[in-house]
Symmetry: C2
Subunit: 663 residues, 2 copies
């Protein structure tokens, strides 16, 4: 009956999410002008979401049928259930974020405190929905089937949704951004964010789509995968022992502890008038961590589980925070790497690009060290089970991380709305302050998400070897099939990121064509006498993004299956290991290089080395455009793609065991 | 006494190299003006080589002492011997290349046939010296010690030399190139290759240093490493069998077969007046391949060795050719990837860079497939020994590859000399024709070198596990120490390339400062009334390059030792596997992305999409500058760095076995 605790935690989290959803909804929305701007973004984002979910349901239906035919009905049901839960969390989070932006802008006219809380509670709806729906779903499935392997289907469903939300959203957002800039600014001389540009709404929609819905789905995915792989390892490694069931349900109990910690953390996020919102967010995260450590200690003592497991989870959590903070160093506007990258632009765009590229690559060091330390520590204290529990520990603060991350686009949009509706200077100033806190939070949560994904796929790899009944020696690097698997697996993440980057380029051309058409065919558009057709641009960008997604997502399902069925389960094990390693390297380097270039540009826009409009600034704009596709499309999508590959391997392992060509 | 065959082959190759050296030396050197230009390049290149070898001897002395103290004297002697042999090959090759350029230019006044043969024979001196000195050295050491493990020292010596020649040369060449461009063209408005620019000689020297000496040392390194790892595996895997000695010496016998094939191939390279020099080079390579397959078949039948070994070597050779040709597709000026990258520049530098980056990454596919097929085929036919023999097979045509590769810079320089001495148009035309053939040869040999290095380090990895007495299960990916090793190892190649790229930037600043100083302090320099101090620029670039090299080369020795002594031999095995995988991926992607951008620029300079001077052209110049550091510094250095790491691990394996913290 222990699983009831986790169900209770999940339902409580959903309840609080719904309460905050209604609470934010009750706030005032400000002037008509403000509501009009907000409505345009809302309309575009909902159009994107609608089409995305529409395509997704077709995908889920086909995939569900496939699972039902080749595996079993329960797996198929769990799959559909998983994608539905994640979609629901995304819908709730997006809906409230698109309301909270204008309400935050309006609240800023009153005070910083009101504005901050409106934005943060808006973000918290996403955070609490993600962990609440995930844990509720897992608990229900475990109650019904009592078999962690079925819940793999739930996890694969969540991954499929994440693929669309994160990779599809990533292509979409950069398509709109680059497309709007290229044709608007360059060809027609229209300033950025000018309402005459037909692609401007599509561009504004992008931030919400990529950051709110995308990151939410990404962490939903990692969160579920880490829990389920720990459950699988618990149930198989301790099968012969008396504590078998305790080890199997411990992951969901710890997740419940994480939820209670996150609820408390959320409610304690407070800022004084004139205070620092960034510090308030950090205090919330810090409190959540402390409470989780405390709760998990009590739980583990109470259940009479080996204390080694406690050390493992704590190590995971500590490393998650470490990776988040070190990532911030490499992309912070006040630190050496960004400043040097900006300096290099004095010698032209090429050296700026080389510098951002290099520091981005160097920034993999703390992540590699962190993951290595977490792995070895967890293993030392609690074996293979410990590694998966380290992932659970790291992801225990997911609720808080998603909340602060979703806060970012809300205040970003709020600031935009305040500026475009010409609100008073002190309101804009509050907006700036809130926005700066959001940017730091975003940088940290990006690093955290990558670290969490790396540790999660490591745990998934361990659970794959259990499911596929691979013996220790079967995954030896001295086996050529394993080594070939590693080679092919390692090539996948770079390959997929290249495909995603090319997708952005191709899709941007579509926007460019459409914008040109509108300027040509709508009379008086350039003079501001008539309105552009925003929806058409959103629709083209969305359709294009989903179309471009088909090759990378097909590869991430088909290649592991091909390796498994042709070269066998050992090669597939090597494949997963290879994909984890380069997946992590490319995800970190691309995210951080992108961050470098972005902030190097901002550093110069703030007045350093010539300032805005200088040749140096122009050079950094080139770097920033290169970085956009790195940090917002390719980099963050890799987490999801690796997760999809790992889950595909685990779900289809029973078939591969039976039908593979090589054994 | 079988080893006598290989000694004979080695000595014959050296003899022919010396004969061609003298033959080229006897050709006429043309007008005074031509000799003057050639002398300036020669002076600079020799200044570079002198300082490089000077620093290198200090490094070799310290490392030799270290080996003598901690391991044994024979290892130390072999180490010094290895670096000396490779240095000698480099010296011979450079010396003749620096003569052959002006003689080729002069011969072009007579006929294409004369010019082509002068250049090709000049290149062949390098090719034949490399394989001749390598095989002679190995044969002598094997005769003296009878123990392949000692020859590991020879291989590490060659690797140390390659590190300086390839990575140091790589930093040097791009430093000079970027430095000369940035300050000359951008700041002072002096055209490219203008004699008033103090860095112009340093720039011209760069091609010889990077391509002739660098590639020669790189392939010397791979060639020796592949042979020695096959010998180690032969001697340990077949220890209990009657054919033990045959399997141990077979690698050097096959190398001898390769030498005889290369000698024949070299002598049959012929071109008719008005013929295609590229086709002549390809015919030579093709003939060498065929002869090697024939010779190796006879040898293997004669020695009564299992025919599986023959299939393994042939598979290796076939894959080498396959990788070379497919690489050409991705970087050829007439194909889709380059054209699309050039098209993308219409939308600005950022999209040009993203396109070149993406296609470069995608171009890893054929290499990954090729290496996988070679590995699995070789293993299927001849087990672990087969994999190392595949590497030997692939590298059997090293002599021919180095010859055609060294031909490139000779004709490139010859063309430059012809233009700068204002020779007749038909001479320039011959120069163009010879140069075009050189560029294709260079692209193919670059792909070949990477493929060869990948297969070689795979063989080294296998021999490491033999030397370190690692059991199959000890290298299981299910061991966390192995997985952590893979993580750290995989991070090394990207990290090292980032450090090398940053080095180029830093070193370029030094050149910029010096050029500025000369323009400021030498009166009348900008007006062409006085001569700049070329040597000073060469010296600064050289000193800077060697200084910048210290961190990456220290890391490539220290990190494997740290992993080995701290985390143990299993983690070190994982480390090597990880470094091989990402090393290959980064080497291929960087080389080919660089090639893409370079040729996209040339495509536009040839008149497409606006042509030279247009905005599109300017965008591709930015891409090309980014690519320079990728393709000429970071990418090609990775082969050597991985090789150094693998050899360090193998050489120190006995100590690690005894003293490592974790076991």
């Amino acid at each position: 009956m222990l699983w009831l605790i986790s169900l209770l935690a999940g339902v409580t989290s959903i309840a609080l999410a719904v309460y905050l959803f209604l609470h934010v909804g009750r706030q005032e929305s400000g002037s008509e002008k403000m509501q009009e701007i907000s409505a345009a973004i809302r309309e575009g984002a909902m159009a994107f979401l609608k089409r995305e979910y529409y395509t997704l349901s077709a995908f889920v239906a086909v995939m569900g049928l496939f699972l039902a035919v080749f595996l079993n009905h329960s797996m198929a049901l769990a799959y559909v259930f998983g994608s539905t839960c994640s979609a629901l969390a995304g819908l709730l989070g997006m809906d409230v974020a698109l309301k909270a932006n204008v309400k935050t802008a309006n609240a800023a006219r009153k005070s910083l405190v009101d504005a901050f809380l409106t934005a943060f509670y808006g973000g918290a709806v996403m955070g609490l929905s993600v962990i609440g729906l995930a844990l509720t779903g897992i608990s229900i499935l475990y109650y019904i089937y009592g078999d962690p392997n079925v819940i793999l289907g739930f996890s694969l469903g969540a991954s499929s949704l994440a693929l669309f939300a994160k990779a599809g959203g990533g292509i979409y957002t950069k398509t709109a951004d680059i497309g709007a800039d290229l044709v608007g600014k360059v060809e027609f001389g229209v300033p950025e964010d000018d309402p005459r540009n037909p692609a401007v709404v599509a561009d504004n929609v992008g931030d919400n789509v990529g950051d709110v819905a995308g990151t939410g789905a990404d962490l939903f995915d990692s969160y579920v995968a880490s829990i389920i792989s720990a459950m699988i390892l618990g149930s198989s490694l301790y099968r012969a022992t008396a504590q078998w069931e305790v080890y199997t349900v411990l992951p969901i109990l710890l997740a419940a502890a994480g939820i209670f910690a996150s609820l408390a953390g959320t409610l304690f996020v407070r800022v004084k008038e004139g205070g620092d919102p960034g510090a308030a967010l950090n205090r919330g995260t810090f409190l959540t961590c402390l409470l989780f450590v405390f709760f998990s200690f009590l739980l583990i003592r109470f259940l009479d589980v080996d204390l080694g497991v406690f050390y493992a989870t704590t190590a995971g959590l500590a490393v998650g925070v470490f990776i988040g903070i070190t990532t911030d160093y490499f992309t912070s506007i006040n630190r050496g790497p960004v400043k040097k990258t900006a300096e290099a632009a004095k010698m032209g765009a090429a050296l700026n690009i080389l510098s951002g590229f290099s520091y981005g690559v160097i920034s993999i060091t703390p992540t590699v060290i962190g993951i290595s330390v977490a792995t070895l520590t967890a293993w030392y204290f609690a074996g293979l089970y410990g590694i998966s529990m380290a992932a659970v520990g790291m992801l225990s603060i997911t609720g808080m991380v998603v909340s602060t991350d979703a806060y970012g686009p809300i205040v970003d949009n709020a600031k935009g709305i305040a500026e475009q509706s010409s609100l008073e200077p002190h309101v804009i100033k509050i907006g700036d302050k809130l926005d700066a806190a959001g940017n730091t939070a975003k940088a940290i949560s990006k690093g955290f998400a990558i670290g969490a994904a790396a540790l999660t796929v490591l745990a998934l790899f361990a659970s794959y070897s259990e499911i596929a009944e691979v013996e220790m020696v079967g995954l030896s690097l001295m086996r050529p099939d394993v080594m070939v698997g590693v080679f092919i697996g390692a090539a996948m993440p770079p390959l997929l990121s290249a495909l995603l980057i090319l997708s952005v380029g191709r899709n941007a051309y579509r926007i460019v064509d459409e914008v040109r058409r509108q300027f040509r065919e709508i009379p008086g558009l350039l003079q501001g006498r008539s309105k552009p057709d925003y929806t058409q641009c959103v629709d083209i960008a969305t359709k294009g993004a989903l179309k471009e997604l088909s090759l990378p997502s097909a590869l991430s399902v088909m290649v592991p299956l091909a390796v498994g069925f042709l070269l066998g389960k050992h090669a597939l094990g090597g494949f997963l290991a290879g994909s984890i390693v380069t997946g992590m390297i490319f995800a970190v380097f691309m995210a951080n290089s992108g961050g470098e270039w972005d902030n190097a540009k901002k550093y110069i826009e703030d007045g350093a080395i010539g300032g805005k409009g200088s040749d140096v600034h122009k050079a950094t704009v080139i770097g920033d455009t290169v970085g956009d596709s790195f940090k917002d499309t390719a980099g963050p999508s890799l987490n999801t793609l690796i997760c999809v590959m790992s889950l595909t391997a685990s779900v289809f392992a029973p078939l591969i065991l039976e039908y593979s060509l090589l054994k």
